[in-house]
């Protein structure tokens, strides 16, 4: 390539100029490529030709970039070169440069004409460029002040579509413009089209990204506010709820008159509903803590058999008095699992509580285990109404209570949040939780698996702890 150029240079007189044009274009490409910001690109567009490429020496004085502004319904002036002539023109202009918009309807205006035809035009008469919105007189004043003889208008394309114009104003006549200059101006405007389009896309993307960041920050603040609100509201709610519960209990158990059966029933329902409300508030607080990372997890080796016995005792004495249920714990020798005992207890209570809730009177609940040497699977099998295949996927979602179990909840204190919380906790403990059912009417089995507490896990238990992120607020309501 190099040799070819050298050879050509010595043999043909037209080629060196062609080569100069190519080199100029290449330099322009470089200048424009260095900038991605729209503001920078348009600044370079109107100045680089005159300064870096030395076109001032060839009689060029002002370069103006205009772009289609659909909203304004016209061709808007965007950038103007920083030359003495440009400054003189703007200083006398009746309309500030950046507010000049040529309406699309002004088809006699050369800017609009070029935009429509896609072909360059030449004029020695600035009203062709500026009217409307300027009057012919005002346009001529601008031209005289700048001392411009000729202006050439070129269309700027991007992806085959005219997006604006470039005006090159000179202090020489059109006859004195060489073919090489014209070639370069064509090449230049093509380049500008791409650069402007790219920079517009880039700047738009950047703005969008900034807006997204802002929106995201705003969302995070709102989320924080929500957590704070849940935290404060749950405490504020709990005080009156405790009072209702306490006085209803007092009325039921310590009344100084004999209560009718009806009155007793009403009071029992007040108590149950209050418990349900308290559970709901607790669950919402739990979820808020899990979702905002303000939960603490301290895993250790946990014996599932003794935990199961505790749970059965607790549930048996508190709930099954209302409903006769038989518990069967299938004891076997079992490795300990690696879990936070309090959180595991919460999960266990939730699942056993559900099983009890949906078991028919006199039904059985079986708690059993299975281990593959890596993890221990605990299963809780009930003789309740079972779950359809479609519903199984909804079980562990927030408020994923199923329609056919709705009626049971009024008396059971269900919130529709328990399994969601259980799943969140088991996930945090690197376990799995799922449900199986042969179908409606065939009972359900809930299973969760947890990793076996190997010596290595227990020794490095501190590495698996989850501490609340951010500030721990000192006074937080109890989440139970």
């Amino acid at each position: 390539m190099f040799n070819f150029f050298k050879k050509s240079q010595s043999q043909q007189s037209g080629v060196p100029k062609k080569r100069e044009s190519l080199e100029s274009l290449w330099r322009l490409t470089k200048i424009l490529m260095e900038n991605l910001e729209f503001e920078d690109v348009v600044y370079k567009t109107v100045n680089s030709l005159l300064n870096e490429l030395g076109y001032l020496k060839s009689g060029y004085r002002i370069v103006v970039l205009s772009l289609v502004d659909e909203e304004a319904g016209g061709l808007r002036r965007i950038a103007l070169s920083e030359t003495e002539e440009a400054r003189r023109a703007t200083s006398v202009s009746t309309i500030p440069f950046e507010r000049i918009v040529i309406p699309f309807s002004a088809t006699q205006n050369l800017g609009i004409k070029v935009l429509m035809s896609g072909k360059p035009e030449v004029t020695t008469h600035w009203p062709d460029l500026l009217s409307p919105p300027l009057t012919a007189e005002a346009a001529l004043t601008n031209q005289r002040s700048a001392g411009i003889t000729t202006s050439m208008v070129y269309p700027v394309f991007a992806r085959g579509k005219a997006i604006g114009t470039l005006i090159f104003s000179m202090v020489k006549k059109y006859q004195d413009v060489t073919e090489e200059e014209k070639d370069l101006l064509w090449g230049f405007t093509e380049l500008i089209g791409l650069a402007v389009e790219n920079s517009m896309l880039f700047t738009k993307l950047k703005n969008t990204s900034q807006q997204l960041t802002q929106a995201n920050n705003k969302l995070q603040q709102l989320d924080q506010l929500k957590d704070d609100f849940v935290s404060v509201a749950s405490h504020e709610l709990r005080t009156p709820m405790t009072a209702i519960k306490s006085y209803a209990w007092m009325a039921l158990n310590r009344a100084d008159v004999d209560l009718s059966e009806k009155l007793k029933k009403y009071l029992v329902r007040v108590l149950m509903s209050t418990d349900r409300l308290i559970n709901l508030v607790n669950d919402m607080l739990n979820i808020s803590r899990i979702e905002s990372g303000r939960i603490e997890l301290l895993p250790e080796a946990v014996d599932l058999i003794s935990l199961s016995k505790d749970i059965i005792d607790e549930v048996y004495y508190s709930k099954s008095i209302e409903k006769p249920i038989k518990f069967h714990l299938l004891e076997q020798s079992l490795p300990k699992v690696f879990a936070d005992p309090n959180k595991l207890r919460q999960v266990f209570l939730n699942i056993v509580g559900n099983a009890l809730k949906f078991s028919p009177p006199g039904g059985s609940i079986i708690i059993g285990f299975f281990t593959d040497g890596q993890s221990v699977e605990t299963y809780i099998k009930d003789e309740g109404p079972g779950i359809s295949k479609d519903d199984i996927s909804r079980l562990f979602k927030k408020f994923g209570r199923l329609d056919n179990s709705y009626t049971a909840t009024a008396s059971s204190g269900g919130t529709g949040l328990g399994l969601f919380i259980s799943k969140s906790l088991i996930d945090l403990m690197h376990g799995k939780i799922w449900a199986e059912s042969e179908g409606v009417g065939k009972g359900a089995t809930f299973k969760f698996s947890l990793p076996i507490a190997t010596n290595e896990l227990v020794e490095h238990a501190d590495q698996y702890q989850i501490k609340p992120a951010g500030d721990i607020r000192e006074l937080e309501p109890a989440a139970l």
Partner: protein, 128 residues
Amino acid sequence: MENNQKKILIVEDDQFLREFYQELLMQEGYLVDVASDGAEGEAKLNQGGYDLVLLDLMLPKKDGVTLLKEAKFKTPSKPIGAIVILTNLGQESLIKQCFDLGAAGYLIKSALNPDQVLAEIKSYFKNK
């Protein structure tokens, strides 16, 4: 009744709950004194002479954790028995802090039925 000799202080700002626990404990035969904010609680704790104190944590004027902290380092005119927290607050770290400061128990009001609260109170006297 053996409870006759036992004197309990309830520090609780909510009037209904304060009066509820007062009535509940009096029915059981305890002698009951009350304080409705942190300042009143502080004065009565300084005076001393209680077998058991039921202390709420969120209190106007002076919060329960501060009262607990101060009680640990002060010598009241008359001795104080166990201080049991009775609250609706319950971050794990807070519970731990209260036990570290010498609380004998931590009861969460909304989670317990009144008879469970009574059983807990009885157990503190038994263990003594």
